[in-house]
């Protein structure tokens, strides 16, 4: 059966495999490549067989991991061969070595077109496989319209239907905008009823993907999927013949159908719902039956269906009975001898734990899970156990779970320590009834895994201690004791320094922790610490001067020593100098005021949670309420107005994006997870007196606490409308992504630079921005706006910015703006958002200067009622003449001075350039200050243009 691969090729394979060294292999390959190149370039035309032979060799060499940069044309030639094997090798080469040369793509597409039209099912299959394998945008452009027809045509062979369905799926994934919805969709849904199970299998994948984006359109698939599923699960194990896999009827199709049903809520129709419940019960029942085969394939296939059924039960989250049964089933798997099943059971239970119906049932397995943490030999399984413990934690078992996690932390793999630290910190805070327990837990964390305790964790413990006076004395005592250890982690020194600086006085009464002992203890660690910690300790010392006047001279001696005053580090030196000066000149009253205890921090969501979410991706670490919150915000995701920092100019923001994406942007109003550190660094909102570790410089000491309102205000004007009168700025921003724009327009052409900034520290994967022209942008099937974009790199590194250029041509006047759709994967989740791209008709304005006489002459010429559009509206912004002028100029028309007899009015004139026509426009804006109203009149030669410009401009005042 080896005739597909020419004999030479086999020979070469053998040579390559027996090759002694890498060098010998490379030498051999280079020789062969040179040979092939010369054959291709030779005068003698190669016959099909030789061409195939050499193309096959090239493929082989490529698959060995070497780069191939020729042979594409020969492969393309093979496509038009009538010999099956030649065609087949040609297609394989093209699928594996995709090339973006446009001439080649044209030829390839031609060959594919011919094969699709050939009515030969084998050739059609090859062509469809090629489209599905390459799946490029060019292919989508060429074939997305054709394939649905093949898919639903009555006379298409089953195997071709299968390929067509999955081919279309691939194109839809890469270019959803190019796959037109239409009549075919309802016929595709009915493929769920097809007699051929292979067709149903392929179609179900397609329908699932389409239904995720267009649930309404594919709603009818629910009842069809339920009845299909029902027929499968109730069939005898041999009914489905070759679709039965190790005694399991159609496992792949069952999984796919269950997955499709997860795109929808529980069915509304009680009959359908009842039938589905029956199916799910049958699947759960079957899990209890004795296995029909001892083969692992049997149990895997059976359990694959079971796990998918459980996912559906969890997704519906509405049948307490099923949820509890699912939980019990998973409980059995927790102790199964198959590692794979234990892993999956732990994973599934995590999601069950977040359902109110099954949370309690999950909790009963706590001992098993803790045991898994101790005994599992595979770190990935232990990781799942940690996740599950975290998910099942509540007030009743928090102490036990936290203790077990701390226990495990001592021996945990380095790769998962940081995550466990975050989880412990969150649980300890969330379920702390008694804050002494919380303080103990965090100090334990630092003791056991100090290196993995991030700043967020120790900032948080300080926030909490400062905000709760019942725990301050205990905290001071505990850190003091912990610091006694001969070797303690630097993070402990930080926490200790901060807490003793604030609350050391609470334990100073005890002779074992007198002021001097406290100071000596801290100072004994000083020299071992890094610069930031030393800086923090210096601040603690000056706080001690205020708390304990009796050791003032000791501290002054330390500050005065050469190692401080002449420290090479500027920050340390400055602190020493300034603190020393402060301690000598300030009276006790002033000292007491300046160095007063920190005021409570505003209550805020734990920044640790945000960090964990960032680490794991949202969804995996959330609890019940948060999931609900996230669900709703997910749905609003696309409609969310961009909140834009209105104080600094947004274009400055744009430039700063690359450098410091997080600090430069205003947090969205409902921002969660701001860090303690931003309290420190944001001087406008930091109302603290001297904070150890603060970056405030000395001058700030005298300006004590002046409570200013938060300086950053949010403008809720959709960013889109802001761009009507300007070309640069921030279009969209959320916690993950910032989109900035710079654009320029000339006559009917324009160019827009879109900047995508990743605000997180994690990579975005599969990052695909797509510009979509909605149907409204078509006039008699002609696109009014011609946009060309280049694809961007699909990965965007954390903190990085990528740029995309859009070339714009205005063909004729238009109303709607194109939509920018962005999809990417962040953490474990798929992100999808759409914003309007601010390409508005007025961008194609050219200003026209004219005299008063000219203006009114033209004004009169455009007196047809259809040419005039007028709008009277209330001012939304202060009525400032200078701003108004700037806006009219920004809008694009000329601002004509001394034209209107009333100097308070504004008039403008310009020409809208489109490829097909030019449209002259005149405008007049009459403000009425008393009424706070405007009257805007537009006169152009085209009604739609008058209408659109009037709308756009009215929004601006």
């Amino acid at each position: 059966m080896t005739e597909g691969c020419p004999k030479h090729c086999i020979l070469m394979c053998v040579l390559l495999i027996s090759g002694k060294s890498k060098e010998a292999e490379i030498k051999r390959i280079n020789k062969e490549l040179a040979n092939i190149r010369s054959k291709f370039k030779g005068d003698k035309a190669l016959d099909g067989y030789s061409k195939k032979k050499y193309v096959c060799k090239l493929l082989f060499i490529f698959l060995l991991g070497h780069d191939i940069d020729f042979g594409h044309m020969e492969a393309v030639n093979l496509l038009s061969s009538n010999r099956y094997t030649e065609k087949q090798i040609g297609y394989l080469f093209i699928s594996v070595l995709v090339n973006s040369n446009s001439e080649l793509i044209r030829l390839i597409n031609n060959a594919i077109k011919n094969d699709l039209a050939s009515r030969n099912p084998t050739f059609m299959g090859l062509a469809l496989h090629c489209i599905a394998n390459v799946g490029s945008r060019e292919m989508a452009e060429a074939f997305a319209g054709e394939i649905p027809k093949i898919l639903v045509a009555g006379d298409t062979m089953d195997s071709v239907k299968q390929s067509a369905a999955l081919c279309l799926l691939r194109l839809y994934r890469t270019s959803p905008d190019l796959v037109p919805m239409g009549d075919w969709t309802s016929r595709v849904v009915h493929l769920l009823n097809d007699q051929h199970l292979g067709v149903v299998t392929a179609a179900t994948s397609l329908i699932t993907t389409l239904a995720q984006k267009n649930p309404e359109e594919f709603k009818t698939s629910v009842s069809l999927a339920v009845s299909r599923l029902s027929r499968i699960v109730t069939s005898a194990s041999t009914d489905l013949q070759d679709y039965t896999y190790y005694f399991v009827p159609a496992p792949w199709l069952s999984v796919k159908l269950l997955r499709l049903l997860q795109c929808y809520p529980p069915p509304e129709d009680p009959a359908v719902r009842g039938r589905l419940t029956e199916c799910l019960e049958t699947i759960l029942n079957k899990a209890q039956e004795p296995p029909k085969s001892k083969k692992v394939q049997h149990s895997n296939a059976k359990n694959a269906v079971l796990f998918e059924a459980i996912s559906l039960i969890i997704h519906h989250d509405s049948e307490p009975n099923l949820l509890v049964r699912a939980c019990n089933q998973l409980g059995q798997f927790l102790q199964h001898r198959e590692t794979n099943l234990r892993y999956l059971a732990l994973e599934s239970m995590c999601t069950l734990a977040s359902s109110e119906f099954s949370h309690e049932a999950v909790k009963t397995h706590i001992e098993t899970v803790i045991n898994a943490l101790k005994t599992e030999r595979d770190v990935s399984v232990r990781q799942r156990a940690v996740d599950l413990l975290y998910a099942m934690c509540d007030r009743s078992n928090a102490q036990q779970i936290v203790a077990e996690m701390l226990n495990y932390l001592e021996t945990a793999d380095y790769s998962i320590r940081e995550e466990i630290v975050l989880k412990v910190a969150i649980l300890a805070e969330k379920y702390a009834v008694d804050y002494t327990w919380y303080v103990d837990t965090i100090l334990n964390l630092i003791r056991i895994a100090g290196d993995y305790v991030s700043e967020e964790v120790w900032y948080r413990v300080i926030q909490i201690v400062i905000n709760r006076d019942d725990v301050q004395g205990y905290a001071a005592k505990t850190v003091f004791e912990a610091l006694q250890a001969p070797a303690c982690h630097e993070n402990l020194v930080k926490v200790g320094g901060y807490i003793l600086g604030e609350f050391g006085n609470l334990i100073a009464g005890d002779p074992r922790s007198s002021p001097l002992i406290q100071f000596n203890l801290l100072h004994s660690k000083f020299h071992l610490c890094s610069v930031p910690t030393r800086a923090l300790l210096l601040s603690t010392y000056i706080k001690f001067v205020n708390l304990f006047p009796e050791i003032k001279t000791t501290i002054q001696d330390v500050l005065r020593s050469d190692s401080q005053l002449k420290n090479a580090d500027v920050e340390l030196q400055q602190r020493a100098v300034e603190y020393l000066r402060l301690s000598t000149i300030a009276s006790t009253d002033i000292l007491a005021t300046v160095l007063e205890e920190m005021p409570p921090f505003p209550e805020r969501e734990s920044s640790i949670l945000a960090k964990l979410k960032k680490k794991k991706g949202p969804g995996t670490v959330t609890d019940l309420e948060e999931i609900k919150k996230e669900r709703s915000s997910d749905m609003n995701g696309s409609a969310e107005p961009a909140s834009v920092n209105s104080t600094p100019s947004p274009s400055a923001d744009l430039l700063g994006l690359g450098a410091a994406p997080l600090t430069n942007s205003a947090p969205p109003p409902s921002s969660s997870g701001s860090l303690l550190v931003d309290v420190f660094s944001d001087s406008a909102s930091a109302v603290a007196p001297l904070a150890p570790g603060s970056d405030d410089n000395f001058n700030n000491l005298s300006v004590k606490t002046e409570k200013k309102p938060h300086a950053i205000t949010f403008s809720f004007v959709p960013a889109y409308s802001m761009f009507v009168c300007k070309n640069n700025g921030v279009l969209f921003e959320n916690q993950l992504l910032q989109i900035g724009l710079k654009s320029e327009f000339r006559q009917n052409l324009g160019r827009m630079f879109i900047f995508y900034g990743n605000k997180t520290s994690t990579q975005f994967l599969n990052f695909t921005p797509t510009v979509i022209c909605s149907d409204d942008l078509f006039l008699n099937h002609f696109l009014c706006l011609n946009l060309q974009t280049k694809p961007v790199d699909p990965t965007v590194d954390g903190g990085a910015q990528v740029q995309q250029v859009v070339n714009i041509e205005c063909v004729s006047d238009f109303m709607e703006a194109p939509i920018l759709n962005i999809q990417f994967r962040y953490g474990g989740t798929f992100q999808n958002l759409s914003v309007k791209l601010p390409i508005t008709l007025n961008k194609f304005f050219q200003p026209t200067e004219m005299s008063s006489q000219d203006f009114f002459q033209r004004w009169k010429q455009l007196s047809n009622p259809k040419q005039e559009v007028q709008n009277i509206f209330k001012a939304k912004h202060p009525m400032d003449a200078e701003i108004t002028k700037a806006k009219i100029i920004g809008f694009g028309s000329a601002l004509l001075e001394e034209v209107d007899p009333n100097p308070a009015n504004f008039v403008g004139a310009g020409i809208i350039h489109t490829k097909t026509t030019q449209i002259g426009c005149l405008l007049r804006l009459e403000p009425n200050l008393q009424a706070q109203m405007y009257r805007l009149t537009l006169r152009t030669s085209k009604e739609a243009v008058s209408q659109r410009l009037c709308e756009l401009l009215s929004e601006q005042f």
Partner: protein, 154 residues
């Protein structure tokens, strides 16, 4: 499914199938990283692991590792059986498949995979139907060959 890789115990890549657009550089990087990760795992360990934001499902058959990357919501166990079914198909076609078969007849391995999985989704699970498609193609090839031979009067 986002991609499937076949590699030997020595870490040599034998087959690669990508269902998402990635640059060659990225593909090489992923391959290197995954081959390393999977080869480092011990025999009794679980067949699934989290990797970047994907789930990796792998299984070893004799000297070959079969490794699939699936997305968060995809089913691990059924993916394990996708691997097994593919092995069965190769086995049936080649008659007790070994690594050399896949090296020598790499194009057949690709063709069989294309009949079984397309665009990262299962297209046809029936062993008979998949092999029928491949055998038909082989037959077609023979018929053509014979007619060529006849025309040459050999």
């Amino acid at each position: 499914m986002q991609f499937m890789l076949l590699f030997s115990r020595q870490g040599k890549l034998r087959l690669q199938k990508w269902y998402v657009p990635l640059s060659d550089k990225e593909k090489k990087k992923i391959t290197r990283e995954l081959v390393q990760t999977v080869l480092a795992r011990k025999p009794k360990m679980c067949s699934f692991l989290e990797w970047r934001d994907l789930k990796i499902v792998y299984k070893r058959y004799a000297s070959l590792y079969f490794c699939c990357a699936i997305e968060d919501q995809d089913n691990e166990l059924i993916t394990l059986e996708i691997i097994h079914r593919y092995v069965e198909l190769l086995d049936k076609y080649f008659g007790s498949v070994c690594e050399l078969d896949i090296i020598f007849n790499f194009e057949k391995a690709y063709f069989i995979l294309d009949e079984f999985l397309l665009g990262g989704e299962v297209q046809e699970t029936s062993k008979k139907n998949v092999l029928k498609a491949i055998e038909q193609a082989d037959l077609l090839q023979e018929v053509i060959l014979r007619s060529v031979l006849r025309s040459l009067n050999v």
